[in-house]
């Protein structure tokens, strides 16, 4: 197998060129805001726009909220299913696969249809329209992001749980007098560090540049800001693209290092 293979090299080099050229072009473009000069003008311009700072911070806060809520939701559930309710495994796996069938655009459509009017059951109003205030819209946005990241977070947590002996650890903790909360917090969570870290970084990468949900819920996130900027500026969007690439690719690269290349892909295309 060690012989030199012309075709393999040809495909490989073509592939590398295809992947490399758009990245290089973006970088090149972002450095040419001043005619005839290479410089960081586009970057300083982009950073000095207060809407960039606001929307970027906003999206980072959304990412943190999403990560926290999906951990709180997924870790106890996956733990409990592993320990006590293995018969529910396929039902839960089915639910975590649903976001593959329901792309972001359909999800946000359904969320808006359901929650843009007062929520009623048999004529009894339970709560008013969630899209009417920005706080409750944020709740919808984060819930949507939790749904989008569910397949990846659940899979990485479930793999992490399978890799340790949940039953023995639980029994050992119980015999030492720990209650359920202590077990989850001091025994299960620490053992899931790598799985949680990679789930968190992937969620971060999905959420920070996300366009679809944020646009249709009308929230001032980074994705819509970047798309809008692209309509009336030439160089600044490239600069921000390079910045957001560096961040998300750094995050994804870290995951790859941590999980040694187990394939994970997102659904935010």
């Amino acid at each position: 197998m060690k012989r030199f293979s012309f075709w393999s090299w040809l495909w490989f080099i073509l592939g590398v060129l295809y992947f490399f050229i758009p990245l290089y072009s973006t970088l090149d473009f972002s450095l040419r805001a001043k005619r005839g000069e290479i410089g960081f003008l586009a970057y300083t311009n982009a950073f000095s726009d207060p809407r960039f700072v606001d929307s970027f911070l906003y999206s980072n806060v959304m990412a943190v909220l999403t990560i926290l809520i999906s951990f709180l939701l997924v870790v106890p559930t996956a733990y409990w299913v592993n320990l006590r309710l293995p018969q529910l495994r396929s039902a839960i796996e089915f639910i975590t696969l649903m976001p593959f069938v329901i792309p972001a655009i359909i999800l946000v459509f359904g969320l808006i249809k359901t929650y843009s009017r007062p929520f009623e059951i048999f004529g009894l109003e339970l709560f008013p329209a969630l899209t009417s205030t920005s706080t409750s819209s944020v709740a919808l946005l984060v819930a949507g992001y939790v749904v989008l990241s569910l397949p990846y977070v659940y899979r990485s947590v479930d793999n992490g749980l399978r890799a340790m002996d949940v039953r023995t650890l639980t029994e050992a903790a119980e015999s030492l007098g720990a209650n359920g909360f202590t077990i989850l917090w001091s025994v299960i969570f620490p053992n899931l560090r790598t799985a949680l870290f990679s789930g968190a970084l992937l969620t971060f990468a999905i959420v920070v540049g996300e366009l679809t949900l944020a646009t249709f819920l009308g929230l001032p996130a980074f994705g819509p800001y970047l798309a809008l900027l692209g309509n009336h500026k030439a160089y600044e969007p490239s600069a921000l693209t390079i910045v957001s690439l560096a961040l998300t690719w750094g995050a994804m690269g870290l995951i790859q290092l941590l999980t040694r290349g187990t394939a994970q892909t997102s659904g935010t295309h």
Binding site: Y18, G110, K113, V147, G230, L257
Partner: protein, 279 residues
């Protein structure tokens, strides 16, 4: 009973943010404006521009799945069995893991800066090879070809990520057995390796199809909504009821989910066929 309380929050969440929203779309597609049962929305899916948008989405998804699948497979072959050295192979695999998640607005900008009207590649072709791809050849980044070219950026890597382990799962004994029986390399691939890989190859292509079919952000950022795809139509419908019938919009969403479900079923069936040979 108490045992079941542990999974209650998860199921309540899934009910509130997955099942109720998606079934409300489902129910909405069988209702008229007054809320009465009707099948008219499904028949109305035949009015322009809806069929064209479904055809557009299916065309671009099929094209990027087929070509992305074939070239992705060749790339996967090159880095697994093809003799590309290890020090190039592992960064490439890491890159694929990253690039398969690269989509949306930044991806669109990356392609605009390379083969947009003022892009680096466009200008290079003009200045050095005198090829005016926009003026003389009618090329545009904002149509079918340009969008496909952009989608490949996440389609190739996804194919590589799924096919590389499958290619590595081909046992050396199979190849040796073939060689002992006097088979050529071509015969080994045609009669042994490809039939084993075929379900996983097709399954992954279905995955690529679904990947492109549900894409909204990339297409919107690249074309500003000026391409007729299902996702773009649904987006316009959410913005301002362009179909002048809310329920027709729900029926479109239903049509999309049906196609995506067929994809997922096909994928998991083919995946089980693969597992017979490659674990």
């Amino acid at each position: 009973m108490v045992v079941w309380l542990g999974v209650l929050p998860f199921f309540l969440f899934a009910l509130a943010f997955l099942f109720i929203p998606s079934s409300s779309l489902f129910i909405g597609s069988f209702q008229n404006e007054a809320g009465e049962f009707t099948l008219n929305n499904l028949f109305d899916l035949a009015t322009p521009p809806i069929p064209e948008s479904f055809i557009g989405s299916i065309e671009i998804s099929t094209f990027t799945a087929l070509f992305g699948g074939v070239f992705g497979f060749l790339l996967a072959y090159a880095v697994t069995l093809g003799g590309i050295p290890n020090w190039l192979r592992s960064p490439f695999m890491t890159f694929c893991g990253v690039a398969s998640n690269f989509a949306g607005v930044p991806l669109a900008f990356a392609f605009i800066s390379s083969i947009g009207r003022q892009g680096l590649v466009t200008r290079f072709l003009e200045d050095y090879l005198n090829l005016k791809i926009y003026d003389d050849y009618g090329f545009t980044l904002y149509g079918f070809v340009g969008l496909s070219l952009t989608y490949f950026y996440f389609q190739f890597p996804l194919m590589v990520l799924v096919m590389a382990p499958a290619l590595e799962g081909l046992r050396r004994e199979w190849r040796e057995a073939c060689e002992n029986l006097g088979a050529s390399g071509w015969q080994y691939w045609y009669y042994v390796a490809l039939p084993i890989l075929l379900p996983s190859l097709l399954g992954t292509m279905i995955l690529l199809f679904g990947n492109a079919f549900g894409a909204y952000a990339t297409a919107f950022a690249l074309t500003n909504g000026r391409i007729n795809l299902v996702t773009i139509q649904i987006g316009a419908q959410i913005r301002g009821d362009v179909l002048h019938n809310q329920n027709l919009g729900y029926a479109m969403a239903l049509g999309m989910v049906v196609i995506m479900t067929v994809c997922l079923i096909g994928y998991s069936w083919l995946q089980r066929q693969t597992e017979k040979w490659i674990k």
